[in-house]
């Protein structure tokens, strides 16, 4: 008899949980069309969990010592930060979906196109919400590098946070004429064997996308949806270029660094003469911290390097969606974006359009501290190409492993 009570109790409990989920779903739908005042009122006093990449002191300093106290003071929101990027976020969402958790651990996430693609695939994002944010009016959504993320229209499902371009990093005292194309790279590594490599991560694959575009003969050859035939044709050339010249790579191409940070260290200690990365090479803070020599510079590939934006999204099962919207709106404010652009701080380019800003803010942005070492986004602009469809990256990963690393 007792058993039956237990079963009944369990059944009732699960019914209650289910109905709660149903109710909050309806509230969430209303939130998508609610006036901003209502969102603001709901956001007051909430605790918002933000999962983001915490691998840089400058970024952590900006978030912990500026954003967290600011949103507490202005909106009475407790912003909690937890560490995690791309795969961790996707794993979390998939795990919570599997366990039918309607109120997840995390409200908002910092993502790029690859994660956006994955989260869309598993319906992990909530939205559209961007249009409701008052500060979204300061962003130029006509800009293709902002409104399209890895060839996928953003459609208000994620809010742009910063924009940046991939750049090649070198030391102009050691390498007066760095390579800007594949034939030049081939000559370079033959002259300086062991000084170039491809990191087996997001960064390395992004370089491969640039090379793929160059092999296709023009900057925009990879635009549009994934094209299997085009990929096979171009990647064939890419792998034979790499495999033919592998013996001139770092460690004779027998192994490749697992991630960019390792490559940066190899560049810093002189093993590599060429490194690369997003954020226009990420040179400024590494020179200021003494990791890179002061003679470090950055440039874009002749045929172009990838330019993309990174974004803020709200998870489908976020318990505090209004709070997350308020925080994201603050992160897009001229004040927060200006602070983020400080070259000695987070040093990241604003997504705000200068012609949409008040004169006062425009002047402040113009007067903001400039980089001493790294190139600016503007300098690389002419050589910018858009991110190709996510499938290119997935295939490059797989084939780089099969056809180069395991070869």
């Amino acid at each position: 008899m007792k058993k039956i009570y237990y079963i009944l109790f369990g059944f009732l409990l699960s019914l209650m949980v289910l109905s709660c989920g149903e109710k909050s779903k309806q509230d969430d739908e209303k939130l998508k069309s609610a006036p901003w005042e209502e969102v603001e009122a709901k956001a007051n006093g909430t605790t918002v969990n933000f999962m983001m990449w915490q691998g840089s002191t400058a970024i952590n300093d900006y978030i912990n010592n500026y954003v967290v106290p600011s949103v507490k003071e202005k909106y009475n929101i407790d912003l909690q930060i937890s560490g995690g990027q791309g795969p961790e976020i996707v794993q979390l969402v998939m795990g919570e979906k599997q366990a039918n958790i309607y109120e997840g651990q995390v409200d908002m996430v910092w993502i790029n196109g690859e994660t956006f693609f994955q989260l869309r695939k598993v319906d992990g994002l909530w939205g559209p919400f961007v249009e409701q944010l008052p500060n979204a009016s300061l962003i130029d959504f006509e800009d293709a590098f902002i409104n399209t993320d890895f060839q996928q229209p953003v459609n208000g499902m994620e809010a742009p946070w910063s924009i940046n371009q991939f750049a090649i990093v070198y030391d102009y005292e050691k390498v007066p004429n760095p390579p800007k194309s594949i034939p030049e790279l081939e000559n370079f590594i033959k002259q300086h064997p062991g000084t170039f490599t491809i990191s087996n991560d997001f960064t390395g694959m992004t370089l491969l996308k640039s090379l793929l575009a160059e092999l296709g003969g023009e900057p925009n050859v990879l635009d549009g949806p994934f094209n299997e035939k085009k990929y096979n044709q171009l990647s064939e050339k890419l792998w034979s270029f790499i495999n033919d010249n592998k013996q001139y790579f770092w460690k004779e191409g027998r192994t490749f660094p697992k991630e960019q940070s390792k490559m940066n260290q190899l560049y810093a200690n002189g093993e590599l003469l060429i490194a690369y990365g997003f954020s226009e090479g990420g040179i400024e803070d590494k020179v200021l911290n003494g990791l890179y020599p002061k003679t470090t510079k950055g440039y874009a590939w002749e045929n172009g390097t990838i330019r993309n934006s990174n974004y803020l999204g709200i998870l489908h099962n976020s318990p505090q969606k209004s709070g997350a919207m308020q925080v994201i709106n603050f992160l897009l404010s001229p004040e927060a974006q200006l602070k983020k652009a400080d070259a000695n701080g987070m040093d990241s380019n604003t997504v705000l359009a200068m012609d949409k800003l008040d004169l006062e803010w425009k002047d402040k942005f113009l007067e903001a501290r400039k980089r001493q070492y790294g190139p600016t986004l503007k300098q690389l602009e002419v050589n910018a190409i858009a991110e190709p469809a996510p499938e290119y990256m997935i295939r490059l990963y797989e084939d780089f492993r099969k056809k180069v690393i395991e070869n």
Binding site: V90, K258, E271, R401, E406
Partner: protein
């Protein structure tokens, strides 16, 4: 139903040790067949087929097996030698403290130390450069992230050799090997005979279970090969995590296939090895 005291112990063991493991195994098994997983569409053999066909798993298994075997052989051999030669010195306080020290250092730290010491921009490379042995960083030999897994094996040895030294010292005392050696000597055995007939058989016989367990532990090590390994082949745990965390959500199940295969192989090996046998001696 009355619960007797020894049963509580078994119950706790099952609850803490067996249930979570079994649940995780079932989860991995279902994932590997595509039954669960947000990006999967129901039961399929596709993931098993592609893992078995690609051969990466078997390469990784062989590679991990060789690394663990070499590391355990060198560690056990070295520890036996140290016990034989330096037993008296090791009983002094300071030296025994030195031996304990590496046991307190986690694997991930050992991995980083090894990297700092042996990489091409590391401590020894810098000294070699200062002394004029090499003129460029790239001339320093490949000791980490290398094909022969020298860095990984070195880290493993520094992690487990001290443990075996302590273990052998204890067994040496508890099993009265010293007295037995003196006895053998008085019966006319030579120093070599004592080592081969008394010292080695007793120590190995009393500790072989632990030696095998350490081998299995190294087979599944993660942090050290993550820091010091190369991109291919990889040790098993690194391969599993890489597959599970990959960008292509459709292939996450392949990571679970590798995990299930690995668990099966290790479990079967453990059962075969540790199945109760007659007249067997356990390690203390």
């Amino acid at each position: 139903m009355k619960i007797k005291k020894p049963n509580i112990g078994i119950l706790l063991f099952v609850l803490v040790g067996v249930v979570p493991f079994a649940a995780a195994f079932v989860y991995a098994l279902l994932y590997s067949f595509g039954v669960i997983g947000v990006a999967n569409n129901g039961f399929t053999f596709q993931f098993w087929e592609s893992v078995l066909a690609s051969g990466t798993f078997f390469t990784s298994l062989r590679y991990s097996f060789m690394i663990a075997l070499v590391a355990v052989l060198i560690s056990v051999g070295g520890a036996l030698w140290i016990t034989l030669k330096f037993r008296e010195q090791l009983e002094k306080r300071f030296l025994s403290f030195i031996i304990y020290l590496p046991l307190a250092i986690p694997g991930i730290v050992t991995g980083f130390f090894t990297f700092q010491l042996f990489s091409k921009g590391g401590f020894f490379a810098r000294i070699s450069h200062k002394l004029g042995f090499i003129t460029e960083a790239s001339q320093f030999p490949d000791l980490v992230n290398d094909g022969l897994a020298i860095g990984i094996i070195f880290s493993f040895i520094t992690m487990i050799m001290p443990f075996f030294v302590l273990l052998f010292l204890n067994v040496y005392k508890n099993e009265r090997v010293e007295e037995l050696s003196i006895l053998a000597q008085s019966l006319g055995a030579s120093a070599n005979q004592i080592t081969q007939r008394v010292f080695l058989p007793i120590l190995i016989k009393k500790t072989w279970v632990l030696i095998v367990l350490y081998f299995i532990f190294l087979l599944g090590a993660y942090e050290v090969p993550l820091i010091l390994g190369q991109e291919s082949p990889q040790m098993l745990s690194v391969l599993i995590i890489q597959e599970i965390k990959q960008y292509d959500l459709d292939k996450i199940s392949e990571g679970y296939v590798v995990a299930v295969l690995y668990t099966l192989i290790v479990s079967i090996a453990a059962i075969v090895l540790f199945l109760p046998k007659k007249n067997r001696a356990y390690a203390n």
